[in-house]
């Protein structure tokens, strides 16, 4: 099975940021993304939502370059004031060329 090795960036953030984050992802070169609704607890747990702890979980499969760009942006634009966590794993993607 021939696959392409890419990066998978997962972002968990407060729901109000969904639109802002996903449009930025595409802008930075992602070809798509997957969002799931989540809830959770963190060090701050601050949220501008009626339901405390609500989050969105955004997954995006991208090249290492785009991955770095995304993390860089998130770090600068969101970490200071928002409840966001970001982690990266290495994934083997079928039809991977589609996502770079």
């Amino acid at each position: 099975m021939d696959t392409v090795t890419l990066k998978m960036v997962t972002l968990v953030a407060e729901p109000v940021l969904e639109e802002k984050l996903t449009s930025k992802l595409l802008e930075l070169g992602a070809k798509g993304f997957t969002v799931t609704d989540a809830r959770g607890r963190g060090s701050r747990g601050i949220r501008a939502s009626e339901v405390p702890g609500e989050s969105v979980r955004i997954e995006v499969v991208v090249s290492a370059k785009v991955s770095d760009a995304i993390l860089e942006h998130v770090k600068q634009a969101f970490f200071p004031n928002y409840a966001v966590i970001a982690w990266v794993t290495t994934v083997d993607v079928v039809r991977g060329e589609k996502y770079v």
Partner: protein, 323 residues
């Protein structure tokens, strides 16, 4: 006193108290998110429809002055809030502007509670009150966010996006849209759905009772933050609404609103938005601390208005209407 008792024993006040109580005893219970949304959609749309049908009966002269004073309140209340917080409360620009966006706007639920209360006191408010509600919804948010964005030099583009969001959000679509639909269909068609949407009917009041049960839970789950916000904001959350409420009742009476109408306008001015404002502020003014604006609007001002404010504004209105 009688008035206060009447309000505290109303189904919606009691359901609200029950919700708070449930949280205090650490119950996990809460309405499912979709039910909560469904109820708010029903309540807002019913409000709009009824308002539209009634608006059909109103003349320009009836509406003109009330509209003017409502817009005036939309401009004044965010400014008073902002300066009180900056000058007296020594809050940061972002925090002051963020809170001002909440108090400059209006809480639809508080509005509905006021409408229900004055009707139960047989002080029927003007039919076009929902129109005033829609007018008061967004200006305050825009003004407060503009102040904050300019003073903290935020990128304007995100501000524009946010304002579009506020103007096309659920509340606006259902209220303004409902108004237009109600206006267009007229009495005859209204008759065929009145049994479901009538804001005086049991379905509306039942839905409102369930909704306030959940609102009690939501407010109660914020009580833990009360100690975080400090004494000033605690006092502010009670005093500010009273001042805005008095101003609203007074301006409403000047504009010729009835006993009930002036009470409701005062309640609108006194209320703080916690649906439209929070996400808008969160996105536009990231430095503003959500604990401040959510706790003050949701855990202090909202319960105060539901339980004590509304009867108080009614009493004021009675005084101004020679009662």
């Amino acid at each position: 006193m009688e008035i206060l008792k009447a309000n505290l024993l109303s189904p919606i006040a009691l359901a609200f108290a029950l919700g708070i109580f449930a949280k205090l005893i650490k119950s996990e219970f809460s309405l499912p998110k979709d039910l909560y949304t469904a109820l708010s959609i029903f309540l807002l749309f019913a409000l709009g429809l009824k308002g539209g049908v009634e608006l059909g009966h109103a003349t320009f002269d009836d509406v003109a002055w009330p509209v003017v004073v409502t817009l005036l309140l939309g401009v004044v209340t965010p400014l008073t809030t902002y300066f009180v917080l900056r000058v007296v409360g020594k809050f940061s620009v972002s925090d002051a502007a963020g809170i001002a966006a909440h108090y400059g706007s209006v809480s639809a639920v508080t509005y509905i509670a006021a409408m229900t209360f004055v009707k139960s006191q047989s002080a029927e408010p003007e039919g076009f009150m929902p129109t005033l509600l829609t007018l008061l919804e967004s200006p305050g948010i825009h003004i407060a966010l503009a102040i904050g964005a300019i003073k903290t030099a935020q990128p304007g583009q995100s501000l524009k996006a946010v304002l579009h969001e506020v103007l096309t959000a659920r509340t606006m679509i259902l209220l303004v849209g409902g108004l237009l639909v109600g206006l267009a269909m007229g009495e005859k068609n209204w008759g065929s759905i009145e049994g479901f949407f009538d804001t005086k009917g049991p379905v509306f009041k039942g839905a409102l009772t369930l909704f306030l049960l959940e609102m009690g839970i939501v407010a109660g789950s914020r009580f833990g933050d009360l100690k975080k916000v400090g004494p000033f904001l605690l006092g502010f959350g009670v005093v500010m609404p009273v001042l805005h409420g008095a101003l609203g009742v007074w301006l409403g009476s000047l504009a010729g609103l009835s006993l009930g109408g002036a009470t409701v306008l005062g309640t609108m001015a006194a209320s703080a938005s916690y649906i439209a404002a929070p996400p808008a502020v969160r996105v536009t003014l990231p430095e503003a601390n959500p604990t401040y604006y959510l706790t003050s609007s949701l855990a202090i001002t909202f319960p105060f208005n539901i339980l004590f404010g509304i009867p108080l504004y009614f009493r004021l209105s009675q005084a101004l209407h020679g009662g």
